[in-house]
Amino acid sequence: MTVVAKSSLIGKRIPKMDAPEKAAGKTRYVQDINLPGQLIGKILRTDRVHARIVSIDTAAAKALPGVYAVLTAADIPKRGLGVNKDNPPLKGDKVRTIRDEIAAVAAETEEIALEALKLIKVVYEDLPILADPRQSTQPGAPVIQDAKPDNIAMTFDYAHGDVAQGEKESDVVVESEFYLHYVTHCCMGVSGIIADFEPTSGNLTLYSNTQVPFLHKREFSEVLGMDPGRIRIIQPPIGGGFGSKLDIYPFEPIAVYLAKAARRPVKLVFTREEEFLASPTRQPALCRLRSGAKKDGTLTFRAVDILLDNGGYTSWGATIPFVMMQTFSSLYRVPHCLFHTKAVYSNNPYAGSFRGYGNLQATFTVEQHMDMLAEKLGLDPLAIRMKNAQESGEVTGQGMVFTSCGFKECLTTAASRSDFARKFTDYAQQQSKPGNKKRGIGLAAMIHVGGGAKIYPSDGCGTILKMDDFGHVTIMTGASEIGQGSETVLAQLVCEELGLPLDAVSVVNNDTEVTPWDVGVHASRTTFIAGNSAIGAARKAKDKILNAAAKVTNMTADQLEMRGGFVVRAADGEMVMPLPKLLRSLHFSDKAELVMTTHYYEPSSVHQDKKFMGNVSATYAWAAQICEIEVDTDTGIVTLEKVTAAHDVGRVLNRMGLEGQIEGGIVMGQGYALTEDLMVRQGKVLNPGFRDYKLVTAPEIPEMDISFIESMDGEGPQGAKGVGEAPAICMAAAIANAIHNATGVRLTRLPFSPENVYRALVTAKGGVVE
């Protein structure tokens, strides 16, 4: 008897499938791809913040040898990009932000293209600058977009209960204004695209960094006025997305128009400076929050008023209230909630989507208010959260349904592992002691969608699975790999169903001609949605295989199983036949059949109604993070010493991948809180480079203690939830609470750069600052 042992890859530490190539520096990014006959595209960007374009003279540029195309707004259709369709790829009438695209060149070499840009003469008439979003709706403010004379790009309103009633029921009320600044994604790989028209058919192939290929196809077809069926998007490996590649941006259609005009493939890749200036930012926000609670800590209400600086054009940044409101309405049980946001135009850079999608901003305010309420009530930060924390079975005011919910376990796990209660008391007592080094500990918690987010009518993903004659599986999935490790997780999930080793699987996920539809990489949805889709396809394949095996044995399909590349007897693992043999017998027979299956998974969530009511995600991720810091009161430097994190991940699928996501997210959140600051002054970006835009570097990365709470979600693939965004969300709030614990000073404006912290400390002591 030959018994094949059962084995599972779930929960193991598995290096990402693409890691060896990346570690060896051999991955071929869009930068590395060169097509025969390819030209280099470059964009002329304005150096004005707000100005009317009087004239653009391209004659000298066009005459330069080696130049194949020079385009201005006059040469292309007048169609806008983005959420409000207010962003024409090339600006013709006026420029509204410092990075505005006004002309583009395709030339034989980069040098020639740059030379040509210098030869373009633009005459402007400067317009008054609108740099402060608080001024945008004041009478007499300059109008940024003619179609929106009130300068309001978008508003969101949400309510449940009656906040006036909540206020009446409150024993304590706190109110604060919070400011959240500009930061940007800092992908290691800068933005880039290659546009290639097939000369005779006119079919268009794009080599693109997008994270949403299928939505992108549609966007391109609209802006180009082209049949989407003739647009193919190939996604080479990308050097980071983090949400930055969720929208279509001017450089992409510009490359296409250049390719069309020049009749040659055009490659357009940003410089690092361009990446800072012309890729989207995280949405800055000015947030006024009023919260109340009863004596025992029970929350009574929350009233939120948020002003978003929309910049000159509307990308996804304007829509972050959609996610923000979930934290205000549903992180804790809040009987009354009123939420209003307004995104207003200005002459500043515009924001896109960015890992966390507004939740870093919302959590920053809510989680500081939890501490402020606790302080007023004489409760400790953990107690007030435990009192109001959501549990399984809850349906929130917004209609979110919590099936699996490890929130309380996250809170207690992080608190006990960090010795939170003792340290919180100790550090608070040491505030007034002499010495310039103050220690503090702070807690923050979060909720985020963990089972997709149905922001479009569909939140689905398709999979095609094929097996070859040798027992090898190819998964063709709509879900893009953007470094998050989705390939590996999908392969693991399929291996689990088909009893195969990881090296029997390859994943194809980068060609819209081949892969089935998916809504895109966002909302931490890929493991959950694409995972369930892949499992569905694998189960269909397994059914087919076991049914075929049943016919050639004297067993029924449910008496059989797949293990280690064999069909085995389910009861005892006795080998029945090698899988390749079965596959070949199916293929090379009278009935001649291949094992190929498809599956489309659509989660059970709902598309919310106009009032934003409804269960937007199939499940939710929870986390608590505790930061321990030291503040140097002589300099304002805040050193992050340790982060204790507890995450409800549903179930651990790839432990190594999961740790990577959490650690990376923590560091991203740390940068948001402490060091990163895209300095925008009067519409100008002062620090478009890594010298003065400060990312966290290796020596500043704190000690981390990460726990996974396995709540085994009923709908999740093998019980898992999505967690891609979760780890960055709590950090700024937890650090703010820790600074308060260390110094007694409450900081409500990001970033906590040394100077900002120092100023706040001096001011709090009654000192004078200039």
């Binding site: 300099t635 300095m679 010298r691 400060k694 750069s753 100077e755």
Partner: protein, 282 residues
Amino acid sequence: MVERYLAPTTLDEALKALAAGDATIVAGGTDVMPQSQAGRFKLGRTLVNIRRVAGLQGGAKEGDEIRLGALTTISQLREDAFIAKTLPVLAEAADHFASVQIRNMGTLGGNIGNASPAGDTLVPLLVLDAVVELRSAKGMRRLRLDEFFTGPGKTKRTPDELITNIFVPAPKPGFVARFAKFGTRPALDISAVSVGIAGIVKDGKISNVRVAYGAVAPTPVRGRAAEAALEGKTLDAATLAAAAKAAQGEVKPISDRRATAWYRREMIHNLVKKVLADVAHG
């Protein structure tokens, strides 16, 4: 436009190349390359890579002076046993300087030649009373470092001159020198301000005091008022406070993206106090 690239191996060849005119000296290239790429630095017709010129590396005692070769790398300042023992303040500066890769390439001569007000070896060299040795095909001269800088990126060096060595007096008994840099990151950060203090400490009193500041003026500067507040004094709380106040009062920094002028003055005050407290407590 660069037309010629030379990599001389002897000092004479290097000086000849410079004498021919319109030449740019490249040592580690960690300033030249990024600055010229960004269009902030115009390269001459000839690039002279001096990295292979013999005899300009490392440190040695010569008479009652210490000689430091212009090609000594920032990493060497940190790791060289002789330098670490004789002039630990340079190791202290090197320890917060850029990243390991930049330290391996960047040189002491380049840091001086670049003449940034935030150059991290310049403040320690000022408090060490450093003298710069310049050589050209025509001869040799020595200039005091505190008279060498004329503005951001500007020095008294003429285009045909090469910085060959830096000389500092050999430390006397009781000599202490300290450097403190303030940036927002522990490494890989340009100083928002920096402070150097040196002197001879005997029986709790400090004399021969040198104070210098980085990033508070167009060049690294000596802190004469703070020096006066300290000279001959016992390093007690009152002296520390007076010196810190004097320092804060004498610097005239600007506001830029790295810090406001007010904050820079505050940091000068606090850093001077901190460094002096360290010195006082040995």
